[in-house]
């Protein structure tokens, strides 16, 4: 009978984390930031059909980066979780925090117990009734969860993008100022991103029941045009 080689648990976790990080770094990043009327979500995504951003519930949006099939499975599970919760209780009882929690539980479970971790990083955003009550959660491949009130960046390049966004972020910015800051942060100093390279959506306060709205290329172009 052959004995498997002993591998230290630290080494196993480190290998898994490296594996997940490498997978995530292959894709482009996404971010969410608050602006005067709600939350703006923006991702670098040349595809107009394979989406990184999507609607979960009336006031809740989702962004995922990394391996498409994995974060899309999480997105659909999130829609199901929210719709089932709203159906068995009430629409008002569906909130981002509990959804982010179940995501974190699941990602943590997979990370510790399965051979292969999920190569994804996701963010869940919810707008509140008033400015200052917005919530954003950042959940990593290992189930680590962080909550933010200004902005969240997910993806392989998130540290550099966060730094650039930190430098220009301002409270109560208009939509076009916020979008300009987001696009510049995603692009970095050496590149410029065109509307066709971007996927943009908003969760706008005080609109219809379903707050999530996608912006098409024309709308993005108009917002980014110098005033």
């Amino acid at each position: 009978m052959s004995m498997p080689f002993y591998v230290a648990p630290e080494q196993v976790m480190k290998d898994r984390a490296d594996y997940a990080r490498k997978g995530i770094a292959r894709g482009r990043s996404a971010l969410a930031l608050t602006y005067a009327d709600g939350i703006l979500l923006c991702a670098e995504n040349p595809s107009s059909t394979l989406r990184k951003l999507s609607e979960i519930y009336d006031r809740i949006a989702f962004a995922g980066v990394g391996k498409y099939n994995e974060y899309d499975q999480l997105r659909i599970a999130g829609v199901r979780h929210a719709d089932l919760k709203g159906y068995s209780y009430s629409r008002e009882d569906v909130d981002a925090r509990s959804l982010a929690n179940v995501y974190a539980q699941y990602l943590g479970q997979i990370f510790t117990h399965e051979m292969k971790p999920l190569e994804v990083e996701i963010l869940v955003a919810e707008i509140g009734d008033e400015p200052g009550h917005d919530q954003m959660f950042h959940i990593r491949y290992d189930g680590t969860m962080m909550d933010e009130s200004r902005f969240v960046v997910v993806g392989g390049d998130s540290d550099a993008i966060s730094e650039r966004l930190e430098a220009v972020w301002q409270d109560n910015a208009s939509l076009s100022v916020a979008l300009g800051a987001a696009v510049n942060a995603l692009a970095g100093p050496e590149r410029t991103l065109q509307p066709g390279d971007l996927e943009v959506a908003t969760l706008a306060r005080g609109q219809a029941r379903r707050a999530f709205q996608r912006l098409d290329d024309a709308a993005i172009g108009a917002l980014l045009a110098p005033a």
């Binding site: 599970a77 979780h81 159906y87 179940v102």
Partner: protein
């Protein structure tokens, strides 16, 4: 609650009804028939096509046997931004079916990233009525109407059902519930191709008024409490519920017209209207 994840072989797909069944939230079917006076019933809904789309109108009464159980129940609901569903039959299961249908459409849109066609929505409702058949046999029948604006054809469309889920598209108008015979006749006599919004609103209000006049389970406009039918138009601009002020004014004009037919002094005026 944990994250609802399924293996590939038993994934419920974009169907919310299948998901609800899968997680065991569906109510059991009663094994003995329920008497009509044990449960609330909703009745009359009419839908009429007009120049801009479709209008749907439903009275506000629910009855349990010979008693009035609710005076302000609503029977016309938006199914999504461009369609409406009107219900008749056992009120509890009917309202539950509407809730599930609304979620079914929204859930599909979110999961798939695109909307169902209007045919697809009508078929979905048919499937839900079909799956209610065992309950219908125990006295919990639900017979809805479905109307929507078809953005691909740029026209209003309406669908009628039977309790087996049979789906029948109607060209001009449809009615359901105990007052549907009377309401349908009024609409039939007053119907013209491509009626204006004004004309079709008055026609729908009169249809419900006349149904309430002859059917005890249909409620007329309640002027004392200020309760009017739920009337909504579904056009290219979407679902729009008509405000009570407008309905009150139109009901006032209708009463005036009907009164003038009965007063000998106004005989000439009545003939010209």
């Amino acid at each position: 609650m944990t994250l609802p994840l399924f293996s590939l072989s038993d994934d419920p797909g974009p169907s919310f009804a299948a998901l609800v069944q899968r997680v065991g939230l569906r109510p059991p079917v009663p094994d003995t028939p329920l008497a009509a006076d044990q449960i609330a019933h909703g009745t009359t809904v009419v839908a009429v096509r007009f120049a801009d789309g479709v209008i749907m109108a439903g009275d506000r009464r629910a009855t349990s046997g010979n008693l009035i159980s609710h005076r302000s129940i609503e029977k016309v609901f938006p199914a999504d931004s461009h369609s409406a569903v009107g219900i008749a039959g056992a009120a509890g299961p009917a309202i539950e079916m509407v809730r599930l249908f609304q979620l079914q459409l929204e859930h599909y849109e979110k999961v798939e990233g695109s909307r169902l066609s209007i045919e697809g929505k009508a078929n979905q409702l048919g499937t839900m009525i079909r799956s209610n058949l065992p309950a219908a046999m125990q006295g919990l029948a639900v017979v809805p109407l479905f109307a929507g604006f078809d953005l691909r054809r740029n026209a209003g469309r309406l669908f009628q059902y039977d309790i087996t889920g049979g789906r029948y598209e109607e060209r001009d108008f449809a009615a359901t519930g105990s007052g549907s015979l009377h309401a349908g006749t009024v609409v039939k006599l007053g119907y013209r191709e491509a009626l204006s919004r004004d004309a079709v609103l008055d026609l729908a209000i009169e249809a419900l008024f006349q149904a309430a006049d002859d059917d005890s389970a249909t409620g007329g406009p309640d002027l004392m409490r200020g309760i009017f039918p739920v009337v909504a138009t579904i056009t290219a601009a979407g679902y729009e519920r008509i405000a009570d002020d407008d309905l009150a004014a139109r009901t006032g004009q209708l009463l005036e017209r009907l009164r003038s037919r009965r007063s000998p002094a106004d005989q000439s005026g009545a003939e010209s209207s």
